[in-house]
Subunit: 224 residues, 2 copies
């Protein structure tokens, strides 16, 4: 989009901030505002201001607020689960999977700590968004991995239980426990910071320690 017209390119003054397409600037600004205010609390005008563009342009590129918010949610949701699902669907050993998921999620969420709160809020108030969340997971591999990852994980867990390597646990409890321990601290970040008495840096150190301990904690819970 926004390719130059050629004959008039030298004459027309450049836009205020030429960094990136207008559309991309809008999407980035919308991302920030929707995460800060929520879908219903976000104001188109604030997004336009943050993007440094005229408010009418939001409707030019994205038809209305609904479609804009959907684009933002899609992009945000694509950051939360796909990589975890990918690891879970792989052929790696269970211990390896746990370690990789913990490292992956804690490192990524440290850079986007507001993501879980935003996504949980969206799914809570807009149940239809669930489909868009699943769509991001479906794209991880050529085929839809979702119906596969749980049965596969289940077989892996059952085999480990028979071999005496791990205690018996169902695949869904296994997955939810792991996701809980990784994601909840970020989703409930304000609550935890207040409860434990942490400031910004304290929380970061708290997460840093977690990176070292969490996989071990989790795997010990499954020792026979």
């Amino acid at each position: 989009m926004k390719q130059l017209k050629g004959r008039k390119a030298a004459k027309r003054p450049p836009p205020p901030e030429p960094d990136g397409d207008t559309q991309a600037r809008i999407l980035d600004a919308a991302h920030a505002v929707f995460i800060r205010r929520g879908t219903t609390g976000a104001r188109m005008q604030e997004i336009a201001g943050e993007a440094g563009v005229n408010p009418a342009l939001l409707h030019y590129y994205f038809r209305n607020k609904e479609q804009l918010s959907e684009s933002v949610f899609r992009r945000a949701a694509a950051q939360l689960l796909p990589r975890v699902i990918e690891v879970m669907a792989s052929d790696a050993a269970l211990e390896n999977k746990v370690a990789r998921v913990v490292a992956l999620e804690l490192e990524h969420l440290s850079r986007a700590p507001y993501l879980p709160g935003y996504i949980i809020s969206e799914l809570h108030y807009h149940p239809d968004r669930v489909r868009q969340l699943l769509a991001t997971v479906a794209g991880v591999t050529p085929e839809d991995v979702r119906p596969k990852v749980l049965p596969k994980l289940g077989r892996q867990l059952a085999a480990a239980a028979r071999a005496g390597t791990l205690r018996r646990i169902t695949a869904d409890q296994f997955l939810v426990n792991l996701l809980s321990l990784c994601i909840f601290p970020f989703a409930a970040r304000p609550m935890i910071m207040a409860l434990v008495g942490l400031d910004q840096h304290g929380f970061e150190r708290f997460i840093a320690r977690r990176r070292d301990e969490l996989a071990d904690f989790f795997l010990r819970a499954l020792r026979p």
Copy 2:
């Protein structure tokens, strides 16, 4: 409020639905609507309709939307943490505390599954609400228990570590792990239902199984 006037009580026709004070009816309706739509998405008119009351009465009892939403949040927040803090601050043994918190939370949240999503959303979009959340915790005992519960728990954990009963873990990681495993499944309920492929009843069974396994899972992670 709304005590009868005595001399005119027999003459005036009773209000449409005499069950409960008007103020309480409004608060209950507001509770439902705020949890369903979020603070910014909630409409005063919808609350009035759900309460079966004239919209103007919302402003008569609660001055404005802000104060009404604050009353609702206070009441909701009071259901999430106080009992957990109370157990944690008690003199019970660690194994006992874990078992009681798991039983307490899973049983209560099964009846109010939308509570965690609402509270996390509120804290995410209205950081000032954190103070109101802490206020609910402070009221658990005559004095403010918050500054006490973590150090006490820490000493308990350190003693257990010295005695060789439990592996060493800090009080904050202990508390956050426990809360994560209890609360996250409800906070991320729509996501989990979609990911695992559960309907309403499937989710309830999922939680029921969790009630039996979770305390054991948690304590095994801390075995030396």
